[in-house]
Amino acid sequence: MIDEEALGWVIRTRDPEFTDWDGFTLWLEADPAHGATYDALMAADSDLDSIVPVEPVAMPVAANDPGVRARRPLRWIAGGAVAAALVATVSIAMFNRSDIYSVTTRPGEIRIIALDDGTKVEMNGGTTMRFDRKDARFAALDAGEAAFTVRHDVANPFRVTVGDAIFEDAGTVFNIVHTAAATRIGVSEGKVIYNPQAEAIALPAGRALSDDAQGLRVMDVAPATVASWRQGQLVYANAPVTQVAEDAARSLGLSVRFTPQAQAMRFTGTIRLDRDPARFFAEAAPLMGLSAVRQGDGWLLKEGNGSPN
């Protein structure tokens, strides 16, 4: 049987904002058994680490919209579909205009695009984007990764179209990755609004959003690690190793495959981007608990630390 009072204190004292230590002291003093019960429950709580699945949370979309709340399967049916339809018409219109131009970087190549209003887009390798000569407040990330440093203008916000989603800045430095399987954004300064016309999820600095097969999720991210590829580093918290490989492939221009066991693994930590693939994998693979083997013009990552067999 779980002691309700003690559980209450476990939850309260675990809260980062807990301050009622006097109240807690009084409860403990009321009965010497309280301390022991609390200790046992706290230990049980930390034991939960081994069974709590660590995937990030599916964020219920807009709290004032009960229809879409926390229901993954429904996520695009409400506002999203409308927004997608809107974006589709807009982009067709834009494709027909001659002032839209496209920029593509080769894998391993980094390009910095200065938009004339003081806004800067740093394109990582293997990335395709579209810009508008007539509208410096528009960018579309079609594939790959880019970091945005945006001059904020309330009257005329900067918008990035990514697939069928729109990110609108609210004074900002942020990074977006867009692959066939996922869209991820991390915000390091200011604030970004995801799909302002639909879900309208506000992402302040230190928040990240990811949209993939598992649904739409919002999580925390260390602001300093957002777009760390610009400093030659990749920083992860519990990321699938496949994501690490995609990021490395973009920055280094190589292709990576996984054995089935290896691709289920996750990684937390920092990896230095070494331009030399052999050196990169010699350092990075053991960090991920994997070993790397060169295969033709790509690399195969498999389980286990090293020992060739």
């Binding site: 980062p16 034991d47 081994s50 709590v52 709340r69």
Partner: protein, 170 residues
């Protein structure tokens, strides 16, 4: 050199001592205070926004460590008596395939329990327990009352702790 934090520690030493005594430190209470003082002096922790709660949390964590290491010792002595382990195995060693399968099974069970609690309770629990977000912030994010978040957490915790208990006795 006394940093700001150690000065606040000294000023609140009686209250902190009372706290660790209430926590069950017994005769070790004074030693624990000494430990804390040394820790505070040893490293420059930089500015702490809310120093007194920080010190209480530190004291509470010391007590938790103490509890954990004593229960670990008991378990180890018990294992030894039962002849379970000649060589102490390193828990950080790679786990075997069958153990990994059992672990995956447990994770699936935990996932199912969380899912059955409903999306809001699951979300609240994850935000709180995994991502370390406070209850007030969670309540704001979801547009629900603090009481709702508290109740959700109680519910989730009870379910998860019972599941863990069940797993351990299986």
């Amino acid at each position: 050199m006394a940093t700001g934090l150690s000065a606040i520690f000294m000023a609140n030493r009686p209250a902190l001592l009372r706290f660790v005594r209430a926590r069950g430190a017994g005769d070790d209470a004074e030693d624990l205070m000494q430990d804390m003082w040394m820790k505070l002096e040893a490293k420059d922790l930089g500015p702490v926004s809310d120093p007194l709660p920080y010190l209480y949390r530190m004291a509470n964590n010391l007590m938790l460590d103490r509890y954990r290491s004593s229960s670990r010792r008991e378990r180890r002595e018990q294992d030894w008596a039962e002849g379970a382990g000649g060589v102490m195995s390193d828990p950080s060693e790679d786990i075997a395939i069958d153990e990994r399968m059992i672990l995956n099974q447990k994770l699936d069970q935990a996932r199912a329990v969380l899912r059955d609690l409903g999306p809001r309770v699951e979300l609240v629990f994850r935000r709180f327990r995994i991502e370390g977000v406070g209850q007030r912030v969670i309540a704001e994010e979801l547009g629900v009352s603090l009481t709702t978040v508290e109740k959700d957490l109680q519910k989730a915790y009870r379910a998860m702790l019972s599941l863990k208990q069940k797993m351990d006795t299986e």
